[in-house]
Symmetry: C2
Amino acid sequence: MEEMSPLQREIRQGKPFRSRGQEVVVALLRTADLVRRAVSRAVEPHDITLQQYNVLRILRGAGEQGLPTLEIADRMIEHAPGVTRLLDRLEAKALVRRERCRQDRRQVLCWLTPAGTALVETLDEPVDHADIEAVAMLSPEEQDHLLHMLDAIRTGRK
Amino acid sequence: MEEMSPLQREIRQGKPFRSRGQEVVVALLRTADLVRRAVSRAVEPHDITLQQYNVLRILRGAGEQGLPTLEIADRMIEHAPGVTRLLDRLEAKALVRRERCRQDRRQVLCWLTPAGTALVETLDEPVDHADIEAVAMLSPEEQDHLLHMLDAIRTGRK
DNA sequence: CCCCAATACTTGACACATCAACAATCGATT
DNA sequence: AATCGATTGTTGATGTGTCAAGTATTGGGG
């Protein structure tokens, strides 16, 4: 009698996975989805989405000098069109200010407004808490190991 | 001089992460995004999305007896409304057949059409290949370890 | 047998991802 | 200085995720 993996049971799939790689990929995508939802719930009470929060956090990191749109897109793994519209919504909420750059008029520089700064700071604690909770069942050593393996997957090499 | 983590460099963030949990969560979400895109590229040439492929794969697992809409939603981590519309598009492409259940007329049973079955089978190999490639830099033992940690995160306990 | 809470969806509204096409601007070249 | 290719976005179309509200149907209690 073959043992069924937890994941296999989870998706009620009789057939075993065709490869370990497949099982890892499915587990990775499902786990990320769950974690994303958990962290989302930490920011949603303040009427922004996780992606909007990410933009705010990136802009805070940039500080006074601001960031052009495509720079923001780079730091998320995201394509430019999405970022333009994310910024549209954040500007509508007065959390972000945009202005065409004087030196290079192709660029549009973005900054946090005071309200935007205040909001990210408010969210620091609940988000930290959600992040820590999400992986709290792993020991610090395991978390480090997980981190290294995820780094390896992203860089494509050991 | 503090060492910068690969991830920290990746997102060009000067500040260190406020907690290891935060770094793990960011790494998990970014990695899953990359992997999802890679696997997506394997199915897109056949004009379906990864989610549509997931539905087809789930329905193949169900076989002759078919599956009600909410059962499909359960096996993806997804809410019903999304699945209804996914099925709308798959039915429009004649990959899926739907019929109201005679015993319980609230349910809508779904099956693969022959074309749907053929398509999933065509995609088995390219998807397997993409899955294996995505995590190929990890040894089998590391993959097992990764799998266990992801299982732990999803179940919320060791 | 009738009513009513629960079940299984479906629909509408909005946020977001992705691709392709377009617009504006810059820099370099002629 | 006029032009051309590259850079930096924006816009439109389609697919998907999510929540709230609505519809059809079932099963059970009065």
